[in-house]
Symmetry: C2
Subunit: 278 residues, 2 copies
């Protein structure tokens, strides 16, 4: 039986990124796509608690079905698992995202929402992103890596509760630090397509100047969410930001369990002091 | 100078939970509230990438301002930090949520979105939730705990990158396993209000039967997101689900850094094998 691969994203089913991904992984199994009917960037793990959801079949070929859904990326995964897939998929893939999902963007990303949702359902799950926000980004240099990584996860699985957040640099536009990055690449850093693969941790970084005030013709203020990103530990060579800035593909193993185990001991005191005072 | 406390939630600024919280913590400092203008359950860390945001002042008293925003819980925090707070707050609080945010609900919760956003901005941050989804839930038994916990975090701070996800059981309706829970409480478990405080890890649990198909009068199908929750490790006494089911207040220290450090070694092999094959 061919592996069943469920694909979704947050840029919508028409995006070049998801359609590039479909072509890259089609040889590996039967593909079910259920993706938002339009852009849903910044959807994180949100689901639609109060909106009715609909499904529309957009394309049906041998071993490929493409559906759109009016909900969030996580809605798409839940809807596909419950109502489209004939069995539990062997793999869930989010992407390919137009733009990076490194550092704290992990938490905002709808692509990572797809991947976390798959992981929460105990399905091996991967997110692929490219540090290029343009609608016509060139995803083709990723193809041999995506195919090999996807095959490997299909073959070997992933540890339970762990998914992969894989970000590809845009070697023609280093460093890869969020949409607002303007620093030009250093001499020599754009040579070759990808420098290689690095297994990373999430960098600590901060978004700032996140709101832009505008004035409505009727006289009231409104704001757009924008922002610039700062890598708060630019010299940390073990981070995803560093890898991307230096032309490497960043693989960040990512957990569903967000417990801060290392901090538990310090709060254990609360058990006795709070209990006895109240 | 009085501590500055920023409060938001995902049930909206009119909800009983947030208004109960305001009264509980008012004695502790100057309070700025910026909360959604209506319910936003299931918003996770989503922000509004494509919708213009507006702010409306709803209430202004000595050391208290209440604003509403048309965005997500995370939008509310970002908007308040950039456009309402006169300085960086000393504390961000999400809640009090109507319903629990334990186990995997951590990832879907807009209340936790508020708290993660505060934590990503290096501000000590807490989420408070009560295992009672009703609009007129009684939050008053939480008051002495909330006050003491909030004071303690104001005084001692929190480790960088760690926030607190604090869930209170509803002792009159144990066990506290998601909205769909129907199992009656065991004899004796409803005695007393809270059994005490337990520092916990996130339980592994799974939502199932998450979509409910309905038929539109015009003949097409649509779905509502619903679901039942299963605790996949019901005997694990160190989990938030176990604590809540047994009448304890569950404190789960929660991390912004979701790197699966324990899994990194296993993927290090990818660095060499992928690099050399391509």
């Amino acid at each position: 039986m061919k592996p069943l691969i469920l694909i979704s994203n947050d840029d919508g089913y028409k995006a070049k990124g998801i359609n590039s991904l479909i072509e890259m992984v089609r040889p590996l199994g039967r593909i079910v796509v259920c993706a938002p009917d339009g852009p849903r960037s910044g959807s994180a793990c949100a689901f639609s608690a109060t909106t009715p959801l609909t499904l529309t079949l957009r394309r049906k070929e041998e071993d490929l079905e493409v559906w759109s859904c009016n909900g969030t990326p996580v809605d798409c995964v839940k809807m596909a698992l419950a109502n489209i897939c004939e069995r539990k998929p062997d793999l869930v893939i989010g992407g390919i995202n137009h733009g990076d999902n490194a550092s704290v963007n992990t938490h905002y990303s709808g692509t990572m929402g797809v991947t976390m949702e798959g992981c929460m359902k105990y399905i091996p799950s991967i997110a692929y992103s490219l540090c290029d926000y343009s609608a016509d980004a060139d995803f083709s240099p990723m193809a041999p890596y995506v195919r090999q990584m996807t095959e490997r996860v299909l073959r070997e699985g992933l540890p339970q509760g762990v998914c992969l957040n894989i970000n590809f640099p845009d070697p023609s536009n280093l460093p890869c630090l969020g949409e607002a990055s303007v620093t030009p690449p250093k001499q020599g850093e754009t040579e070759g397509v990808f420098k290689g693969v690095k297994v990373c941790r999430m960098a600590h970084g901060t978004w700032f100047n996140e709101t832009k005030k505008c004035s409505h013709p009727r006289g009231y203020d409104y704001w757009w969410m924008v922002g610039s990103y700062n890598n708060d530990e630019p010299d940390a060579e073990d981070t995803d930001n560093w890898a991307l800035q230096h032309g490497f593909i960043a693989i960040t193993p990512t957990r569903v369990d967000v417990t801060a185990y290392e901090a538990m001991e310090q709060f254990k005191r609360w058990e006795t002091t709070l209990n006895s005072n109240l």
